[in-house]
Symmetry: C2
Subunit: 502 residues, 2 copies
């Protein structure tokens, strides 16, 4: 590391460590914290978040940054930087600019509104009554709109929101891809819907303790390092990292559906391998952090779907699953494989299949754009939501709990986040094609239970790099293609043609 950068990096590492401490407190809250401690924990989280923000927006930090980059443009002053250091400074400047763009007063008010809004969203979902949530959603939209203005935008404020989660993403770039995706998958869905449904897997019971053991087993097979991580149980599965040496997954188990826990484990396991694969020597800097949400999601999707719902994977692991779970003992391979890949439009995004999942995302993407073009009042959102489900998926949500109230994202102001899920599918498909060319025996190896090859390649070509390159550049160089829906459409078409004999 260039000596002139060290004081800045030291301070940044401290800020990152405070962020990790915040994550430990959050992880504990979701896993082991006794319920009655919620208020004192909220105070602790807010204290640490404040310390982080204060240090990141302090004059000290600005002064440190000013010694090495032009504070207006982010252009480094030093001539003898490595390309990685050059890139690192750009990312540090971007993060600093975003943290400093929002006035502290705004951050405090927004954070308080997020808490209230999330609370009322939960109540609204429980009561199945959108009107409880509507006034908060209205305020969250107004403040998020204001946030977009602080960040600055071109064409539509929504671009500022997209860019926050996937640097560089714009509606101009995404819409054509998403439109072509829609044009490919809706007809495919219609064709599939004319076919008979497959029989479902037995409803268990699948012992939860054995499910937990099986998840541990699968994670070890993937290369997850248990001396640098854990698996626990929580209401909503998530992955969090305090350091590359401490990456924690949570999942949940359903006694009547063994695949829910397995899919969750493989999905979060994919995220976790990314975090464990980051370079610990670069901890605290952008070079030691994941490059974007889209790429992160590509890792989880690759493991959950491309590998974890493939015939090769289950040719190896089904016998072990069957010996762990008696209800599956007599299910033939072909029936199992069809059952886990059954296409069926559903109301709930997180329960949907690999094909229709993206339609759930497209609906949200289209509605979010309308919201930030001021073209739809909040009270009309449930109807619009239901219309789009009817149009794209052919089903009408029976109520708002199965419709617009299902996701937490909007209550937290996380508009622009959903598209990264579909970008994850696109990137995963491009990576899968690349892996298949790099390793002609890949599927055979997976069928032999060798998953380490995939993990090794991802670690070397993606994880270790951190933010060395922007997401799009990284993926274009690695896969030889710009970001596009093509690989995904080709993968999904081929897969379902085969499964449904089209």
């Amino acid at each position: 590391m260039h000596a002139a950068l060290l004081p800045l990096i030291k301070e940044l590492t401290t800020i990152t460590e405070l962020g990790s401490i915040h994550s430990v407190l959050s992880w504990d809250q979701e896993t082991y914290m006794p319920q009655g401690a919620i208020e004192s924990r909220a105070a602790a989280l807010s204290l640490i978040a404040g310390l982080c923000h204060d240090r990141h927006t302090s004059q000290t930090f600005t002064d440190l940054l000013k010694t090495v980059v032009d504070i207006q443009t982010g252009q480094p002053f030093l001539a003898d930087l490595s390309p990685q250091e050059h890139r690192m400074l750009q990312e540090i400047h971007r993060d600093w600019r975003m943290a400093n763009t929002l006035p502290t007063d705004f951050v405090t008010r927004y954070s308080s509104l997020q808490s209230q809004s999330q609370y009322h969203w939960q109540k609204a979902r429980q009561a199945n009554d959108f009107s409880i949530f509507a006034p908060y959603l209205d305020k969250v939209i107004a403040m998020t709109r204001q946030k977009a203005d602080y960040f600055g935008w071109q064409y539509t404020p929504y671009n500022a929101l997209l860019d926050e989660y996937e640097p560089g993403a714009t509606t101009t770039a995404l819409t054509p891809l998403f439109t072509r995706l829609k044009e490919a998958i809706i007809p495919l869905l219609h064709t599939i819907q004319k076919k008979d449904a497959f029989s479902a897997l037995p409803k268990g019971p699948y012992d939860k303790a054995i499910q937990l053991k099986f998840s541990h087993f699968l994670l070890r097979e993937m290369g997850f390092e248990f001396d640098h991580g854990r698996l626990d149980i929580s209401t909503h599965p998530f992955t969090t990292q305090f350091h590359p040496t401490d990456v924690r997954i949570t999942t949940r188990f359903n006694e009547s559906d063994v695949m829910e826990g397995i899919s969750g484990t493989l999905h979060e396991g994919g995220h976790a391998l990314y975090e464990q694969g980051l370079d610990p020597a670069r901890f605290g800097t952008p070079l030691g952090a994941a490059v974007s949400l889209g790429i992160h999601e590509s890792q989880s999707r690759l493991w959950e779907n491309f590998i974890g719902k493939s015939p090769a994977f289950w040719q190896h692991y089904l016998p072990q699953l069957q010996s762990a779970f008696p209800p599956l003992a007599n299910v033939p391979f072909a029936d199992f494989y069809q059952a886990i890949n059954q296409v069926k439009p559903s109301f709930i995004r997180v329960e949907s299949d690999e094909l229709t999942y993206n339609l759930h995302i497209l609906i949200r993407y289209e509605i979010e754009q309308l919201i930030f073009q001021d073209q739809i009042p909040v009270q009309e959102l449930p109807e619009l939501w239901n219309q789009k489900y009817e149009e794209y998926l052919g089903i009408t949500p029976p109520d708002d709990a199965h419709g617009i109230l299902q996701d937490v994202h909007w209550s937290m102001g996380a508009f622009g986040y959903f598209p990264t899920y579909t970008l994850g599918n696109f990137y995963a498909a491009q990576l899968w094609e690349t892996l298949l060319s790099a390793f002609p025996a890949l599927e055979q190896n997976i069928q032999n239970g060798d998953l380490i090859q995939v993990r090794g390649w991802l670690k070397t070509h993606i994880h270790r790099l951190g933010k060395e390159k922007p997401a799009e550049t990284l993926m274009a160089e690695l896969t030889g293609q710009p970001l596009s829906e093509k690989a995904f459409v080709s993968y999904i078409t081929k897969k379902y043609n085969q499964i449904y004999g089209l």
Copy 2:
């Protein structure tokens, strides 16, 4: 609260919250943290400890304190304070003075030496080789001696160390009590040793999962609130609190000794009830914190021994224990009660019985005094240790792992800490006498499984008060007696006379 105190209290609460965050990180390290994360966790702990210390020793804090007390004497300026506020300010001033007395450079070097010393103590204990630890112990003693000088002392530097853990404690006050204790229990021990040993409990196996369930059950019976706390497993049992609404116990279970886990649970449960009983509205101030280590230990001892090794307790709980653990099914009550109260001199303090336990403490107390009167070089300590075990307990440790290397305390510089364990026994005996007079039906109630009465009384008369009164005043007012060995000697003599038919 007096309005003039609010800015100081706000800052103090933040410092306390940072301390709680440090405790969350430590708890996680001892319970769930993956092994390979030790280095990054050490960095996080050190960051938070530094932030705490910096804020407590900052000019800002001093300025806040100066507005309300004379910074030299701690005497409050304000005339219209409540007695509680007056007392609170004295305690705040004491804590501030102690934090500020040690130069930051000294704190850093001491903390680093503690880590190294603890590491080498562990290695020495594993290798059963005192010489690995000796040079570090020598340095720790030298720095602890220096610490005593910073704090200031009368008669012996050891008084400064005693005062750190038990405010107001001095050798002048303690030695006569400890001497009379020794004169009472050594002859009693000799008499008991002439009697036949009782038969031990069956060696199990006692299923660990069932032990965990039984510990949960006992904690609920004591009144431990599981919505404000948890029980987990760790190598060494401990209790930690982040807030009165989040108090966490750990214990450990032994498959061949069911009483190890039960004693640990009752002991830590006693500590935990104290922490859960503090007033949450006073969190962050000395009025919302436990008054002293001696009083804390009185709570754990009361539950572990006075209640948890009493006939009344087991008349109620033995049948439930027996139905949970088949190996105990045919043990008659009298045999069980004798077995759990068997007196037998042992090498290891934490495995010792209620009678000999205090001899382990007296040995450490006497050696600590010699150390800080510069009357014994480090290399002669093992021999002195063994001589004292021979003299007081009639047994000679076979090696240093069963002798001077058994406790972690000295490696961390915690000299002056051990006596608080015996003070805990003294206070517990005084409280037990008081409880018996306050509730003539107490033992009958315990025999009926009503433990809530004890918890309620302790909460009202001790827990809720925090540091409203100094430990000695609190106990003298509550029990009608000054701190003394008398109640304990009377309790233990009566108990063992009865058990051994003396």
